[in-house]
């Protein structure tokens, strides 16, 4: 996959938060490539900066207090961080789309879902109301919204959680974008609905030959859908690998810890494992490797030297002392 050129290329992205007079980075130099037709999963604990990274791509950061400090995001020869407000508005939803975690609060409560999809279509395409309506209904049908004609004129609160998320997908895909960013799209849904929504997302991704950046903390989701996985810790990528490689031979001790913490059906452990300690506060990062305080294999050098992301057996890993994985 790496022989084709990436469709989206993030280089050394730094994003900061200002709070109580202090400004500190929460994304600390993320570099990440997204290739055509692939599903890339961005994994990490809450607060590791994965959502901020995604919002940075779309330039949807709440500024203030969150702001891009440096780096570039290259898409079709243009640096998204340099675009004017008007230019980024044209990119949004027609070329890069995004869906969010909570489908209830993410939909405007006082307009019908049909009104909003029509508005988004007509914002980018010069077509009549009737044409836009037809296109909207077709899109609702495609994402599996039952009885789309009737649902077109309903308000979000009249739909179930799963249907709302289908509406969100329809809003995101109606202009046929190249890239879909999905930020924890199933976290707020019932378990039974989660699988349906994921299935629908994958189906759309394949049919449209689109690239998908899926953000999640759920490794089961990753195993089911990802082509490639990037693991984030404390605002940077610590490991990046094809999905099979990552699950069969994780190299970073943090990734290994995540996999060990995964409960497995039909296999009883003496105790559920977890990674000891806490993520350091963003104002107060360890001098060397950010994971050193929690790492079972830390060397003295790990406290002094911040490791770079380096190639190792088909993966890229940010570790001075990688150890083989023992489940």
């Amino acid at each position: 996959m790496t022989d084709t050129a990436p469709i989206l290329s993030i280089q050394n992205l730094k994003t900061s938060v200002t709070s109580g007079g202090d400004t500190f980075n929460v994304v600390r130099g993320v570099s990440l490539d997204l290739y055509p037709n692939e599903v890339l999963c961005l994994v990490g604990e809450s607060g590791c900066g994965k959502t901020i990274t995604a919002l940075s791509i779309m330039r949807l950061l709440p500024d203030p207090p969150v702001r891009i400090q440096g780096g570039s995001i290259e898409y079709r020869g243009r640096d998204l961080t340099e675009l004017s407000d008007k230019e980024i508005q044209q990119v949004r939803s027609s070329q890069i789309s995004m869906i969010f975690q909570d489908p209830l609060t993410s939909l405007d409560p006082v307009f019908t879902v049909g009104h909003v999809i029509t508005e988004i279509i007509r914002n980018h395409l010069d077509i009549s109301k009737e044409e836009a309506r037809a296109r909207g209904i077709k899109m609702f049908a495609e994402v599996g919204l039952p009885d789309p004609e009737r649902r077109f004129d309903t308000y979000p609160h009249q739909l179930s959680g799963g249907m709302r998320q289908r509406v969100m997908i329809a809003l995101a895909l109606v202009l046929d974008p190249d890239i879909l960013i999905a930020d924890e799209p199933t976290t707020a849904l019932d378990v039974t609905v989660q699988a349906q929504i994921l299935e629908k997302l994958l189906e759309e991704q394949r049919e449209r030959s689109m690239s998908m950046l899926l953000i999640t903390h759920d490794l089961a989701v990753v195993a089911a859908v990802a082509d490639r996985v990037a693991v984030m810790y404390a605002g940077e990528i610590v490991e990046e690998a094809p999905v099979d490689e990552l699950f069969s031979s994780p190299k970073h001790p943090y990734t290994q810890g995540l996999l060990r913490a995964l409960p497995q059906v039909g296999y009883k452990r003496d105790k559920l494992e977890s990674i000891s300690g806490l993520v350091p506060p963003p104002q107060m990062m360890p001098p060397g490797c950010y994971f050193a305080p929690r790492c079972p294999h830390a060397l003295e050098a790990c406290w002094d030297e911040h490791p770079e992301l380096t190639e190792k057996e088909g993966s890229r890993v940010r570790c001075l002392n990688p150890q083989p994985f023992v489940a």
Binding site: P280, P281, Q283, M284, P286, A292, P293, A298, L299, E300, C302, W303
Partner: protein
């Protein structure tokens, strides 16, 4: 030293640094609240004005020692800083300073005094309605909704129609409407509180209803109730002044700020101070109470903190 010991040493020292950092970051809730109060300039300004007015109303009449009804026909329509009349005199030669002080006192008693009582009554009624649900809720809730919808001035005029003009119908109206307004909000807050885990835990722990209300619910509703009460004090000050202005409130010779403004308006050309001084006093009273109310809301209600920040930065 072995590699393992060295790493362990680094880890321990790192954890000490973290603990120190967190201690520096941690501000006790009370101190944080005081800090927010100190940073809220409008709240400070409102409180300072409020204390000044309180002082004027409580001690002004005592210190000046004069009689608010004493007339002196040689000394009518005097401007402020006249000999013997700090703020001048009115058309009957009465001392404006002492009358303004007494007027402030009347305003404070009617508005703040009665609203304080209404706060107690409103909290008790609202708690009973919100906590017990059932018939007590329907009864109290029904009456409260009924009273709450009426504008204070209309209620006071209706009472004046039934009881004759004077301060008493005004006091009754302020008490009734403000009790209802406070009870209404408290009831809503208690509704949401009773569904929270810690209340359910208290039930499961077998505490008496009284203890749950007193120890667990009351502390949580005091802040919103106080904020609301300060808003209704402002409403009541305006209503009392307006009613006295049209002749339905305080009756002569007892001065009231609204009545003084009305008395002075026929002499605006001769000596406008007779209207402006009590008028300014009313504005300062209302302003201080509203600023205190707004400020307290910002301090107590972190959901609205971005609003408060907006004010701070101005």
């Amino acid at each position: 030293m072995s590699q393992r010991d060295a790493v362990e040493e680094r880890r321990v020292s790192w954890e000490q640094q973290l603990v120190q950092f967190e201690e520096e970051q941690h501000v006790p809730p009370l101190r944080r609240m005081l800090q927010r109060m100190r940073h809220n300039k409008l709240l400070l300004f409102g409180s300072a004005t409020g204390i000044l007015m309180l002082f004027a109303g409580v001690f002004g009449p005592i210190i000046s020692g004069a009689d608010y009804a004493a007339q002196s026909f040689q000394d009518i329509h005097l401007p402020p800083m006249s000999d013997g009349y700090l703020l001048g005199s009115d058309g009957l030669g009465r001392d404006l300073a002492i009358r303004t002080f007494v007027g402030i006192r009347v305003s404070l008693i009617v508005a703040a005094g009665v609203t304080s009582l209404a706060l107690v009554a409103g909290v008790v009624l609202g708690m009973l309605a919100g906590y017990y649900h059932g018939w007590s809720d329907r009864l109290i809730g029904g009456v409260v909704d009924f009273v709450w919808g009426f504008p204070l001035i209309l209620v006071a005029v209706l009472f004046a129609g039934g009881l004759g003009e004077g301060l008493f119908p005004v006091i009754l109206a302020v008490g009734l409407v403000n009790t209802a307004a406070i009870a209404r909000v408290v009831r809503g807050e208690v509704y949401t509180l009773s569904e929270r885990e810690f209340i359910e835990a208290a039930h499961a722990g077998g505490y008496s209803h009284f203890r749950i209300m007193w120890r667990h619910i009351l502390p949580n509703i005091l802040a919103p109730a106080f904020v609301l009460a300060s808003y209704y004090v402002a409403v009541a000050i305006i209503a009392e002044a307006a009613l006295s202005f049209i002749g339905l409130g305080a009756q002569p010779p007892l001065p009231s700020l609204g009545q003084m403004v009305a008395d002075g308006r026929n002499f605006l050309r001769q000596n406008h101070w007779e209207s402006t001084i009590p008028g300014i006093a009313i504005v300062m009273l209302v302003l201080s109470v509203s600023l205190i109310g707004d400020g307290l809301r910002d301090v107590f209600d972190p959901r609205l903190r971005h609003e408060a920040k907006g004010v701070d930065e101005e």
